[in-house]
Amino acid sequence: MRPTALSWVPAALAAGFAFLYLPILLLVLFSFNESRLVTVWAGFSTRWYGELMSNGRMLDAAGLSLSVAAVAASLSAVFGTLAGYSMGRFGRFRLRTLFALLLLSPMVLPEVILGLSMLMTFTTLDRLVGWPAERGFLVIAFAHATYGTAFVAVIVEARLRGLDPALEEAALDLGAGPVRAFARVALPLLLPAVVAGWLLAFTLSLDDLVVASFVSGPGSTTLPMLVYSSVRLGLSPQINALATIMVLAVVMLAFAGARQSRNTA
């Protein structure tokens, strides 16, 4: 293609990136603002980070969110890998269409539907067997694992498609049963995808407001729930500081992940 042709296209890309990143950059910039008025610059300060770090409710919520995310991501990794492997390697089984649809649904259905459905399940379960009477940590983690599973499965299945099926056949040929073939050959080769899926499920859980709002009982407030109730009341420099920390953590994680995948590729 000649350089003059459609030359506005790269400019559109630059504009698109500006659109994506400018709001985040402003957010980060004003987290270092001295003033309580978030939109008026009054000099550099880190006081909001200090206040954030001594905000007990915020720290509790962050702690809950992180542990929920860790459990949800781990559950997702286990079942997502099983589901992705089932889809990718055992292509033709009965009810496969239903299986695929159940796997797809949590990814695409609106969160309000998912949240509502999870709560209905937990209350019905409580009625039937008396658990979970208090919907806390574990309930939120299970709810998050339902859609985390779907994302892990998609990533695992995608990676599986790039793996020669003869590798597992070779393992079977060399005396390994299916479980051993999976554990010794498929799993090590899928590991980058499982790790990426775990990270995605972790982030999704950490980010979720809607599902957690539906399922969590009184007394269990996740970080997004706290941020949401604070944000509804207006802008808060502490939220800017929190956002900056989250953005920084994500950027570092993402770069580490990208380097990792480059090295293993």
């Binding site: 698109g16 079942f79 589901a83 695409v108 539907i113 459905s117 299916p178 539906f214």
Partner: protein, 284 residues
């Protein structure tokens, strides 16, 4: 066609637990929502009784509040999807035509915002759009306006928020499709006398349509049920159905009606979801 018993056993070891998990965490909960949508609200805890009547659906279908919210959701989601396509297509095209070594990095930049909190990204726009926000302050400081522009609590802000939040989901499948188009096809079009613009419309664009459909559905489907964006950026005239469901549940505490709304929404989205399943670009 016969199958070895050992293949069946091996498959069962993987498929059965995965299937059980999916039934327990997806099929059963969604089924419960559908079941409770036929129930009756009570003052008990939990506030519903099992029943088998369609009064909740009659209520939802008969009340303009709900019907208009459904219509508005579909309208706002559709418009936002169109805007995403208009912005996302050139971006995807530019990345697909960038030097191979740079593509991964550019794609990474598109996806990166998705990894930061959704809530935080919507919050960022509150700071920009408020009457005393960055945009109004800047315009006033430049003397371009006297009164702050009404940028927030309206349909404009909701559209902007949806486009901002879901743009990466449009770019990803589009990029994947465009990138896979054989460069020799465009060269062949040039060779046969088509100038770049013509080559684009006759070759690249038609071949990218599946990616555009997948991307559009990836924006449209979740946007229809969006709660956070209309809640934080919208106003009274931009009530979308996700928010109505939320209010029905948390404020009116009418679980059966909330379930009926959810079931109706799922029904509306079933078509697009099944379409998406056909078009989704695997591996993105």
């Amino acid at each position: 066609m016969s199958e070895a018993p050992w293949i069946r056993r091996a498959r069962r070891m993987f498929v059965v637990p995965a299937f059980a998990w999916l039934v327990a965490t997806v099929a059963l909960p969604l089924g419960l929502v559908a079941a409770i949508s036929l129930g009756e609200a009570t003052q008990a805890a939990p506030p519903f009784d099992w029943a088998l009547n369609f009064t909740n659906y009659a209520l939802v279908a008969g009340d303009p509040l709900y019907v208009e919210a459904f219509a508005r959701s579909v309208r706002i989601a559709a418009t936002s999807t169109a805007i995403c396509l208009a912005i996302g297509y050139p971006m995807a095209l530019a990345i697909a035509r960038a030097p191979r070594s740079r593509r991964v990095r550019l794609l990474f930049l598109v996806v990166l915002p998705c990894w930061t909190s959704f809530l935080i990204r919507v919050y960022a726009w509150m700071g920009l759009l408020r009457p005393a926000g960055y945009i109004n302050s800047a315009l006033q400081a430049l003397g371009l306006i006297d009164e702050p522009l009404a940028l927030i609590a309206n349909a404009f802000a909701v559209h902007l928020g949806i486009v901002y939040a879901y743009l990466p989901f449009m770019v990803l499948p589009l990029y994947a499709t465009i990138e896979r188009i054989d460069a020799a096809l465009v060269e062949a079009a040039h060779d046969l006398g088509a100038a770049p613009v013509r080559a684009f419309w006759r070759v690249t664009f038609p071949l990218s349509v599946p990616g555009a459909i997948a991307g559009a559905l990836m924006v449209f489907i979740p946007a229809c049920g969006e709660f956070v964006i209309p809640d934080l950026l919208g106003g009274p005239d931009t009530q979308m159905i996700g928010r109505i469901l939320w209010l029905e549940f948390f404020q009116n505490r009418d679980w059966p009606v909330a379930c009926a709304i959810a079931t109706a929404l799922a029904g509306i989205l079933a078509g697009p979801i099944l379409l998406f399943d056909r078009y989704r670009i695997r591996g993105t």
